[in-house]
Amino acid sequence: MPKLIETRDLVTNFYTYEGVVKALNKVGLVIERGTTFGLVGESGCGKSVTARSMMRVVQEPGRIEGGQVLFYPGEDGQEAVELLSQSEAYMQSLRGDQISMIFQEPNAALNPIMTIGDQVAESFLFHRKKEMCAKVLEDLKTADLPWPGLKKLLEFFYRRAAADPGDRLCCWASRTPILKRWQQRLFREARRRSVEIIAALDIANADQVVDRYPHNLSGGMKQRILIAMALACEPLLLIADEATSNLDVTIQAQILDLLRKLKKKSISSILLITHDLGVVAETCDRVGVMYAGSVCEVARVGELFRNPLHPYTRALLDAVPKFSVSGQLKSVEGNVPNLVDPPSGCRFHPRCPLRRKICAQRLPELALAGPDHLVACHLAGGRSGSAQVWGGR
């Protein structure tokens, strides 16, 4: 599969009063076209920050300090665009159009005082203005208007906007009272599209829902609206940042089902961030496990569950409640390290049951430990294939 997006040695720090939080420590991930990539790990291990760094929407006081984010917009995955060195304007044209994101908290992620329709329509207005203006221009030919001069004026504006969405004259007119009403047909078109996309996500009465406010909708509905916003412009990559974590199980299943269906139909890839291993097993093709700001293991989903190589992955899998096993649930000993002052060497070593001297001294790098199986552990031994060092379970 050709690559779609790749991060190399991504470093993101947060400058807080307590000190510099080293949230990402050289994160390297590859997401391929047409696949679902799962990113798992405990809370606070840097999953969301990785996704946000990819889109360059890290909030203050966070800063992306180093590394590369390579985006391959072409079908063959050859030409790369380095996103971290692009201008903010370029990123704006990319976000929501080619890469989009669904968020964890549907309650907080929607603007409480804007109607659903307005919020969904924004996606179209940011990225599909040209297309929509052309469509309105087409409709204007057959439209009945009270007086002919108005039609001429509207056509003038829409022709200019269709040629160049950032046209100076049109922008000025959009801010001037009365004159700004030229955009009404554009808004109507955006609204029509919003209703269409909301209806496509199995929401009943889509034409009424667009006039409601977020507080009128249920959590599941809000999550669907967020998905509608993210899918509006048919992105190449959809980042689902704990998109189902705050929903109850039935709604969660519905949303995951929806994502699977949509992936087949339109989106190329999904980056699914979650801490629920069940969700990962069910939906993902490849999985990356993160711990304290670095990636410790990446493998195909079957391989990871069958043959976990990193001690942290094993601990994580052991912590999943199983119906067949009775007795006390195993947990990972210790706590997530404070990232202001992370442990030296391998960041997992203070909690690792198999630590050696070398673990505290040197940071293990991601190395191939099997077919399509990367692991960052001194003991799992890279290419030498000494995965059996610490025996079976």
Binding site: V57, E60, Q92, R95, A109, P112, I113, E122, F126
Partner: protein, 333 residues
């Protein structure tokens, strides 16, 4: 609702009134010095030693018929004096209120967006000066600079020439509102309006600088809070530019707490700023109230308490309506 709140206010005010001795309260009926010796008779006549509830309902009846008592500070009935002093304070507020709201919200928004830049520091210095420098000191400095050294903006309400003209030609200038800036326009006398504006400039400026500081700081912190919210990231992930994020998404949300503060500030300045009115020699509500408080002119204090109660009730009503207009979550439908 409004009626009940006002009734509550009146009970409170009356309770305060009852703490004064009957003799003290009898003074409110004294209109000439000769009447002072008739006080025991006045007490009997007006039933000032009756049970409290009897007096309360009698007082309520008087108040509601417009009989608010006699103000010896104004040498007029409270009712008449009130309508004489109100336009002066109202005129000042007519100019300060929109300025405070516009400048406060605009500067606060800019400071919030450009947090920790030179612009933010500049507005912070401005706010500290406005908020911590005593009003009377600031007003005196202004008066010294712009009247003492550069006689550009004189104190008072209107110039002597205009005053003389109005006194000499009562038929040519009709006072519609008691506010010279507006009456000048209504009478087609632009020169009178301009002269009144010249006298207004300094008090308005002082009042704005002093009051705008608080509103600006509230707007700033509210804006900073909104910018860090999750929905802003959603908008950014949609591809929104900064302008859309700040002015379409964040500012409207940030206005919600600011509306309350702005409402209270407007209500507060209706009481008239005592320092500004005294220093710039504009005898309005604030000046009258201060004088009455010193001279223990009880009917004035009682009447004004009731008036401010009304102002605050109405302000709260307006705030609630504005809330509903901004925030769909608290609309009843």
């Amino acid at each position: 609702m409004l009626v009940f709140v006002l009734l509550g206010v009146s009970v409170l005010i009356f309770a305060i009134l009852m703490t004064f001795s009957p003799e003290r309260r009898a003074m409110t009926y004294v209109e000439t010095p000769q009447q002072v010796k008739d006080i025991p008779q006045i007490i009997k006549q007006h039933g000032l030693d009756d049970p409290a509830h009897v007096q309360y309902f009698r007082w309520l009846k008087q108040i509601s018929t417009g009989n608010w008592g006699w103000s010896f500070v104004a040498a007029d009935t409270v009712w008449n004096a009130f309508w004489r002093y109100l336009p002066i304070t109202l005129e000042l507020n007519l100019f300060t209120t929109p300025l405070i709201i516009i400048i406060g919200i605009w500067l606060g928004t800019q400071a919030g967006i450009h947090k920790d830049t030179w612009l933010d520091h500049l507005t912070r210095i401005f706010a500290i000066i406005g908020w911590s420098l005593p009003t009377f000191l600031f007003a005196l400095i202004m008066l010294m600079l712009f009247y003492g050294y550069f006689p550009l903006f004189p104190p008072g309400i209107i110039g002597d020439k205009v005053q003389m003209f109005i006194l000499e030609n009562p038929d040519k200038f009709h006072s519609y509102t008691g506010m010279y800036t507006i009456d000048g326009l209504l009478n087609g006398r632009l020169d009178i309006t301009l002269d009144a504006l010249r006298h207004l400039a300094m008090p308005v400026f002082t009042q704005v600088v002093v009051v705008v500081a608080l509103l600006m700081r509230v707007m700033r912190s509210s804006m900073i809070e909104e910018i860090s919210k999750e929905y802003v990231i959603t908008a950014r992930a949609k591809g929104a530019d900064n302008k859309t994020i700040y002015f379409r998404h964040a500012r409207k949300n940030a206005l919600i707490p600011v509306v309350t503060v702005a409402g209270w500030l407007v209500a507060f300045s209706m009481e008239g700023s005592v320092s500004v009115e005294i220093i710039f020699n504009r005898r309005g509500i604030g000046w009258w109230l201060a004088q009455s408080a010193i001279a223990l002119d009880i009917p004035v204090l009682m009447g004004m308490c009731l008036f401010f109660g009304l102002v605050y009730v109405v302000t709260n009503l307006v705030i609630d309506i504005l809330y509903a207009a901004i925030d769909p979550r608290i609309r009843l439908t």
